[in-house]
């Protein structure tokens, strides 16, 4: 497929045909190699070439008939190879949610979104959905497929599922048959819990909890969406007719693109249908709890100075330098602990905010200021005293998890429970 992209638009028609043939031949032989047969791709290619160039057969029809011929030869029943007379006969339909990368599929679905093609080699791209789920699709320009309309149901026979940027993608090629269905069923996707999203297409019912500064000039808006189960980053790119979401409002977002980057998910709302909803929903904000031992306290913990400029609040360097507002002699003191909480299976990055630090260390902001200002080691002394009070201790932290870090607003030391002790004695003493 990659060669396709490198092919210049001005490439000779003959070349395009050449590629088409070997690609189709590969497709066919792959289909059979799954059943343990090894047809010769060159032979297939020459058969296809003969049908198309000498007999003027449509490429899709040629592919179908060569596939059929081989199926007969190997005595394998093939779905989607019904032959010209009864095209589509014997083709098994699949639910979109069941489509697996590397498979040939026939699906019935509704075009829920069309997006501008990213390359001249692509005729159409968008999202097709059924009751089970949704998938991105791409129709290649040389597939000569009929243009599909948004909001219409189609039966798509013999398309191929592959992965593009780790996301399943339905490819409509010259061997694919598309039929418009007269019916129009309403299709309303069930929202996915944010915690359950995975790369591909997802629908959520969520509240805009934060709006961030745009980090790119093509970006219309980015921020954080939340529901009861967690939060996820979203982005809307500048495009005709796209509007910003309102912070604090609740939206039904159907068929957004779920991307994964560095292990973190992000929702691209450009292809999505967005409906604002009245009222409010509870947002967990990733409200979670971790229990474990505090195994590391990072530099920058203890007492810190923050930039006093309104809305900034950045941590200052030792020289009272703010990365944005430069030297700030009238800084504000604050407490925090950055560290790692470890339960023996997984280590969580945590950030304790001032209240949590005061409770855990027993050192409040005033006491910490006192230590920092009257001690030869200054702020380092606060760090050392706090470290000795909390490092290696078992604690329970409550807070919101954002970007793989728990922002802790409440935490407590774990205490020994005799019930737990008895349970473990039983477990260890039980069947050996």
């Amino acid at each position: 497929m990659l060669t396709l992209y490198s092919q210049d638009k001005t490439g000779f028609k003959l070349e395009m045909y050449d590629m088409d043939f070997s690609e189709a031949a590969d497709r066919i032989s792959r289909k059979f190699s799954k059943s343990g047969q090894t047809p010769d791709p060159q032979k297939i290619e020459s058969k296809l070439r003969r049908l198309v160039q000498e007999f003027g057969v449509q490429p899709s029809e040629a592919e179908r008939s060569v596939t059929n011929e081989l199926a007969k030869e190997f005595n394998i029943p093939l779905p989607g190879s019904g032959g010209a007379a009864k095209s589509g006969g014997g083709t098994e339909e699949k639910k979109i949610a069941e489509a697996v990368s590397g498979e040939w599929v026939t699906i019935v679905g509704k075009i829920v979104s069309l997006s501008p093609p990213a390359s001249p080699a692509i005729a159409q791209s968008g999202i097709i959905a059924d009751e089970s789920g949704a998938i991105r699709f791409v129709a290649w320009a040389k597939a000569n497929a009929p243009a599909m309309t948004e909001g219409t149901w189609y039966r798509i026979e013999s398309a191929v599922v592959d992965e593009y940027k780790d996301v399943p993608n339905l490819k409509i090629h010259s061997g694919t048959t598309i039929k418009e269905l007269g019916e129009d069923r309403a299709l309303i996707p069930n929202p996915d819990p944010i915690k359950g999203l995975h790369p591909g297409i997802g629908s959520v019912r969520a509240k805009v909890v934060q709006e961030w500064d745009a980090s790119h000039e093509r970006m219309l808006q980015s921020g954080l969406l939340g529901d009861e189960t967690g939060t996820v980053k979203f982005v809307i790119w500048k495009e005709q007719g796209k509007e910003k979401l309102a912070v604090g409002a609740v939206y039904n977002i159907f068929y957004a693109q779920v991307d994964e980057f560095n292990g973190r998910l992000s929702l691209n709302l450009n292809p999505a249908t967005i409906l604002q909803e009245e009222g409010d929903i509870p947002v967990s904000g990733g409200e979670t709890m971790f229990r474990g031992a505090l195994v590391h306290i990072a530099p920058g913990s203890g007492i810190i100075k923050r930039c006093p400029v309104e809305g900034c609040n950045r941590a200052l360097s030792r020289q009272n330098y703010c990365p944005v507002h430069e030297i700030q002699p009238k800084f504000i003191y604050d407490l925090r602990i950055k560290g790692w909480l470890d339960d023996g299976e997984k280590t969580h990055s945590i950030l304790l905010q001032r209240d949590a630090v005061e409770v855990l260390t027993g050192i409040n902001l005033d006491a910490a200021k006192e230590i920092a200002e009257n001690n030869p080691l200054g702020m380092d002394e606060v760090f050392l005293q706090m470290r000795d009070k909390v490092l290696g201790r078992y604690i329970t932290c409550h807070g919101r998890e954002i970007d793989n870090r728990l922002l802790v607003n409440k935490c407590e030391r774990s205490s020994f429970e005799s019930g737990e002790h008895a349970r473990l004695l039983n477990r260890a003493g039980g069947a050996s």
Binding site: Q210, W212, D213, N262, G263, R264, A293, V295, H296, N313, R314, A315, W340, D342, D343, G344, E345, K346, T347, S349, L351, R387, D388, L391, G392, R393, Y394, I402, D403, N404, R405, L407, S414, S415, F416, S418, E420, H421, L424, L425, R427, A428, G429, S432
Partner: protein, 199 residues
């Protein structure tokens, strides 16, 4: 603040820190197999526990009973930390200045919490020694020690069960490397450790 912490979170979140395993001294001292995960110079080194789990880092709580300063040019400290099942040998050298200073300051005996990396050595007489290179060591109270015994017992029992199921690659490797060790002995060890906790 929100965007600021978001950015630092992204940077640190993209890397997974090796968890600190909970293991009793009685099991750790049986380790005879250590391996590198990957070809890279910086690939982490793991000691394989006889119950079939790899550990690059451990967390232990016990009583520091002895400590000793050694070396002239390259000063380092050795210590013995005792748990209900045996003794951990810990050390901190000039490559871990913070840990070394922490260890130097502690008066024995004391309950200590240690985060460190296990290392396997073969002595000239052919016997093996597992020592723990300290990343940090702090004085803790008895409550923390007791919590750790519960924690280590629970994790040990979890490993014994996973080992009995016998499907994980590290479990299979452990069975190859430690053919004479029956993981059931560590169940008894965990029970004895729990039984030593007095109210």
């Amino acid at each position: 603040m929100s965007t600021n912490s978001g950015e630092t979170g992204r940077r640190e979140g993209s890397f997974e820190r090796e968890p600190a395993r909970r293991v009793f001294a009685g099991e750790l001292r049986e380790c005879r197999y250590q391996f590198k995960d990957g070809e890279d110079e910086k690939s982490p080194t793991f000691a394989l526990l006889p119950t079939g789990e790899r550990c690059n880092r451990i967390f232990l709580v016990g009583t520091l009973t002895e400590k000793q300063r050694q070396g002239d040019q390259n000063v380092f400290y050795r210590g013995r930390v005792v748990d209900p099942s045996g003794t951990f040998f810990v050390m901190a050298g000039s490559y871990q200045p913070e840990a070394m200073q922490q260890l130097a300051k502690i008066e024995t005996p004391a309950f200590v919490a240690v985060i460190g990396k296990p290392n396997l050595y073969q002595k000239p007489d052919g016997s093996f020694l597992v020592s723990v290179r300290v990343e940090s060591i702090t004085i803790v109270d008895k409550d923390t020690r007791d919590l750790w015994v519960l924690d280590a017992a629970e994790r040990t029992l979890d490993r014994i069960e996973a080992c009995a199921a016998g499907t994980a690659p590290d479990v299979i490797k452990a069975k190859e490397q430690y053919p004479t060790i029956d993981p059931a002995v560590f169940r008894k060890m965990a029970y004895d450790a729990l039984a030593q906790i007095t109210m």
